[in-house]
């Protein structure tokens, strides 16, 4: 096995993994604030890509303006989703909420199919598509965008959760909702915030991968599941361990496809998911959570 092949597998894996990581963080932010797994997370990835397309093609905006518009539009959908589907619920048991998010994801996908049609659409790359050679391997400029934006988002996340009042309040909610409420934190508002942040992040993920993978009304399903795997490997933390979870997943998939067989690519992801759930349900890097009794 040649070195440049391994290098290519790793690089390809890292770039896919970065996307899984971004989507995975979206999962864990909502999970930490509300205790639910938002299975509609993948749909925001889809919305990000498709809104960008609409801004480019129908509003004729330049790319730098289309992207913020698309993020804003997807975030608005996230807010509406929280307001109309999550908040009015009389008995917010986790199982009800999970089923609602699944229903919501099917609804959003259905509407997207009617609005944008069933075709796959392409989005232009941010800065050309001349391959860049690294050693014997090649990546595209878009991959660099993905790495850079993922890093920036992780950094902003860290700042928000550890150095702002509302970020700290959200963490408080994740430890103990009742106690957070008692000390004067508006828990419902924190839930809304968590939906805003994660839908915006999902949209960003969708926008930065659309030039590579193209986009369609149904891209959210598989990406959502992979993001969920990443979050599980990372132990549902909204920080670095989910990122590492995503990267591990991406690299293993790519190495597995290259060295073992491409037929088992998706199986590898889900076998890892099952193994983690069986052996280390707290995630690869998590301490067992005895404090959350």
């Amino acid at each position: 096995m040649q070195f440049d092949q391994i290098l290519q597998y790793t690089l390809s894996g890292l770039s896919t993994g970065a996307i899984y990581a971004l989507i995975g963080i979206g999962f864990s932010i909502i999970y930490n604030a509300t205790g639910i797994i938002n299975f509609a997370q993948g749909e925001f990835v889809m919305l990000g890509g498709l809104f960008t397309l609409s801004c480019l093609e129908f509003l004729k905006l330049p790319l730098w303006a289309a992207i913020p518009c698309a993020i804003a539009a997807s975030t608005l959908v996230g807010i509406l989703f929280e307001r109309l589907a999550i908040r009015p619920l009389k008995q917010p048991t986790p199982i009800n909420l999970v089923i609602i998010t699944i229903g919501g994801s099917i609804l959003i996908r259905g509407i997207a199919m009617l609005v944008w049609g069933k075709d796959t659409h392409s989005v232009p790359p941010f800065s050309g598509d001349t391959p860049i050679a690294i050693g014997g391997a090649t990546i595209l400029p878009q991959h660099l965008w993905i790495f850079a934006i993922t890093l920036i988002i992780i950094f902003l996340n860290k700042v928000y959760f550890y150095h702002t009042i509302s970020g700290k309040a959200m963490r408080a909610c994740s430890y103990n909702r009742r106690a957070a409420g008692l000390v004067g934190i508006d828990v419902r508002r924190m839930v809304l915030f968590s939906f805003i942040i994660s839908s915006a992040m999902g949209a960003v993920a969708g926008i930065i991968i659309a030039p590579l993978t193209m986009t369609a009304y149904d891209v959210g399903v598989m990406l959502g599941l992979k993001g969920f795997c990443a979050a599980i490997i990372g132990g549902m933390s909204s920080g670095l361990s989910t990122v590492i979870g995503g990267l591990i997943l991406g690299v293993l998939e790519s190495l597995g496809a290259g060295l073992i067989s491409s037929g088992y690519k998706d199986a590898i992801a889900f076998i890892i998911l099952l193994l983690i759930l069986f052996i280390r349900p707290q995630g690869l890097f998590g301490k067992s959570n005895s404090e959350r009794v």
């Binding site: 598509d129 595209l140 993978t213 149904d218 496809a257 290259g258 037929g263």
Partner: protein, 386 residues
């Protein structure tokens, strides 16, 4: 309580009597010929069913405006199967028993077609499937026809072209759905027969977003050519990945991506030089003017564009072929199911969208190698390969 139940039963009975009366009057009053259709207009195979439905509606309207067939109007009864075989079987039974159709066009997918075959055989209604699977008409079934050319014809077209270029070793990259699996089998069988070597046999999932891993592996093996078998968006991703990795190996695609959409998705730059067998509809502009299908193809594309605002697709063409086969049979032989069946089987040199059909008791598909042209992407457009 008891009375209530009784009342309910009575009213149910009444309703059903009324309903059956209505149905009866409808079927007696019509001098029209009813054509049933099962298309997967929604669901995962909607890219097949939607253009098929639109095409059939267009054709029925066109024929009726010209006075129908032999003075009798046509009526299309179209049901959406959602790509579900169980639903297709139920709807096929409904078409036959309730709607009393004389012929069934569709279903859109191979799985659904195989499920519906026992139904049409039982009720002796001819069916013209719009699905590509070879097993639909091989072995030949008395009541069953199909319009898309078999996958092995497309595969053979590629291998014949490779032979003319003295390319010997093949790396396969196929999608893990029915289309890819069928293509993979056909190419392997044909390659063995014709003396080509399969040196890599890779697959990818229909929703995969990055195939550089498979291509890197293939790059290490250094085959003469790569053959990719799938429908969008996978092949477009692969085309981009090939460009990214700087692979210079000739890349062949299947007829599954023979539409402008593919070039648009992959980008004209990345798709430059990709070769594939295409149905003539995709490339009619490039055909020599003397081609027997040229006028029909152009007419179909333009009418479709005028009616729906999008380009006509090969898939809609399958419904076009099926309708034309049925219409010709009705015109020449008659409109009972048995007459239509016999009429379709007698079809000789019928010029249509997918090719020129010549049926026989031994061939219920009726297309040969001439159904496809080898084309190459040059500057974002198709150009014919000789």
């Amino acid at each position: 309580m008891y009375l209530g139940v009784k009342m309910k039963k009575m009213s149910l009975l009444l309703v059903s009597v009324c309903l059956s009366l209505i149905c009866a009057t409808v079927s007696f009053a019509s001098g029209t010929i009813r054509i049933g259709a099962l298309f997967s207009v929604t669901g995962p195979a909607s890219f097949l069913g939607e253009p098929e439905k639109k095409t059939l509606e267009l054709l029925v309207k066109e024929f009726n405006e010209k006075g129908g067939i032999n003075g009798r109007k046509l009526e299309a009864v179209i049901y959406d199967t959602g790509g579900d075989a169980t639903k297709a079987v139920q709807l096929a039974t409904k078409l036959i028993k309730d709607d009393k159709v004389s012929v069934i066009i569709g279903p859109s997918t191979t799985g659904e077609s195989m499920a519906v075959i026992p139904v049409v055989e039982k009720w002796k209604i001819p069916m013209i499937s719009c699905a590509a699977g070879i097993k639909i008409t091989d072995p030949v079934k008395h009541w069953v026809f199909k319009t898309p050319a078999n996958d092995h014809i497309a595969a053979e077209k590629i291998l014949n072209y490779m032979a003319s270029k003295k390319q010997k070793s093949i790396a396969l990259l196929t999608v893990t759905d029915g289309f890819g699996a069928s293509g993979r089998e056909q190419i392997k069988a044909l390659a063995k027969k014709k003396g080509f070597a399969i040196v890599a046999d890779e697959v990818y999932g229909p929703k995969d977003t990055d195939m550089t891993a498979q291509l890197t592996k293939i790059r290490g093996i250094k085959p003469d050519v790569i053959i990719c078998w799938g429908t969008n968006p996978g092949p477009a991703v692969i085309t981009k990945n090939v460009k990214q990795l700087g692979l210079k190996t000739p890349l062949y695609m299947s007829h599954g991506v023979a539409s402008k959409k593919y070039i648009e998705l992959a980008g004209a730059d990345s798709a430059e030089g990709v070769m594939l067998p295409a149905g003539k509809l995709a490339v009619y502009d490039a055909l020599p003017k003397g081609d027997s299908q040229y006028k029909l193809l152009k007419g179909y594309d333009q009418t479709y564009k005028k009616a729906y605002g999008t380009e006509a697709s090969t898939f809609g063409g399958y419904a076009y072929d099926a309708f034309l086969l049925a219409a010709n049979a009705i015109k020449k032989v008659g409109s009972t199911p048995e007459q239509i069946r016999a009429g379709i089987e007698q079809t000789k040199k019928m010029v249509s969208i997918s090719g020129v059909f010549t049926m026989s008791p031994k061939d219920h598909n009726g297309l040969d190698l001439s159904a496809f042209e080898m084309v190459k992407v040059v500057k974002g457009d198709w150009s014919l390969l000789k």
